[in-house]
Assembly symmetry: C4
Homo-oligomer: 126 residues x 4
């Protein structure tokens, strides 16, 4: 414990938040999550940039993952500098000042039953 593991840059090429959901909120609200794990003894300051199909990138969004903590960040909750548009394809790049591990998960509850996807994000070699 206390040893930092992972990479400082990660990319998630898939991103899409449906505007519709089925089931009790907020657990069953359709959402897109980046799970960030900081195993080190130093807080991680992370900057996210969002990429779109038809306009310039938006960012940076800023979040902190405290030392020895995990943050399961819902893209739905990002507000500054702008909320993430619904029903819109996007992608993201995360840059941290200390190494992290990043996994990407989506809960899709547009139809009556939920669907899940998950994959470790793409670690950018440094």
């Amino acid at each position: 414990m206390g040893q930092a593991i992972g990479h400082t840059r990660w990319a998630i090429a898939e991103g899409y938040i449906p505007s519709e959901s089925t089931g009790p909120e907020p657990a069953m609200t359709s959402h897109e999550t980046a799970c960030l794990l900081n195993t080190g003894d130093t807080d991680a300051h992370v900057e996210l940039t969002l990429y779109f199909a038809n306009r310039e990138p938006v960012g940076p969004y800023r979040v902190t993952v405290p030392a020895r903590r995990t943050l399961h960040l819902r893209f739905n909750d990002l507000e500054d500098p702008a909320p993430v548009p619904r029903d819109t394809d996007y992608a993201s790049v995360l840059v941290s000042d200390v190494p992290l591990v990043v996994q990407h998960t989506r809960l899709d509850s547009r139809q009556a039953e939920n669907a899940l996807l998950s994959t470790v994000a793409f670690p950018v070699p440094s």
Copy 2:
């Protein structure tokens, strides 16, 4: 922003577009997607080749991912040199003139509720 990240060759060994769907089109049409992210300042020219179980490969299909953009490419929409056959196992290789990040996602809506899968594609070491 503006720095190219990723690889120039990617492989997706899984591919299958069901002929049947349930739910409103086009969002809920069963589809297979390659999410391409180009973080660099140069447009990416990408060539896709499709591999099958019982015949020679088909391609190249050509798409462009503009600089600082993401393209969520539906295999369903590929037409030239030939549409992708439904209910048929296939695989794909993507070659780009600049580095990209590629993630593979399938929405399967054959039955009443949709299912999702996703994984970062296999980056071919250069």
Copy 3:
């Protein structure tokens, strides 16, 4: 086309074939698949070994992926030297005489609606 890509050894730590299915066979039968892609000009001879929780490994199972072809191998169909037991945790290792790309997919139709999972297998560094 014609250039071999990938690795010659791959591991899939997850494996489980439910004994129950819902929906039309064979497309909707619960199944576990290893998608193998051989982009090279030489046929790939692949040996699979299955690992279990409580007994010695079983194998090798032998399959061929022809040059420039993909094989989406259903573990359900393996018969020699022994069928894959249902409702049993297993794992697998694939060894090929030429490089391949391997992706693992499961369709689970135990309940009325199907669920999917997929991930690129673990490439063993050579």
Copy 4:
């Protein structure tokens, strides 16, 4: 057979065990699994540490994966030093004394139909 493959440290940034399930137990109980594969001839002694959003890490949990065996470990079953809290975001790091391959799977049966996710865990370069 008998050759150890994989890595000795793995991270899984995503973790969440829903408190609710639908369907027959235990197969359809919502669960989070780490599939561990030990292909070598030496038993693997594994220590897991769990990370949370708002408190210090908990661990180590200790499990053994015998030589030439796979263990599909349900986080639901971990009891010592403390059970894994439900409806709580967590992440995990696994450290083994011999190389393993690790894949992460979740079955989510909160709603009537189950959902699955899976991804190879993040192998920490040694």
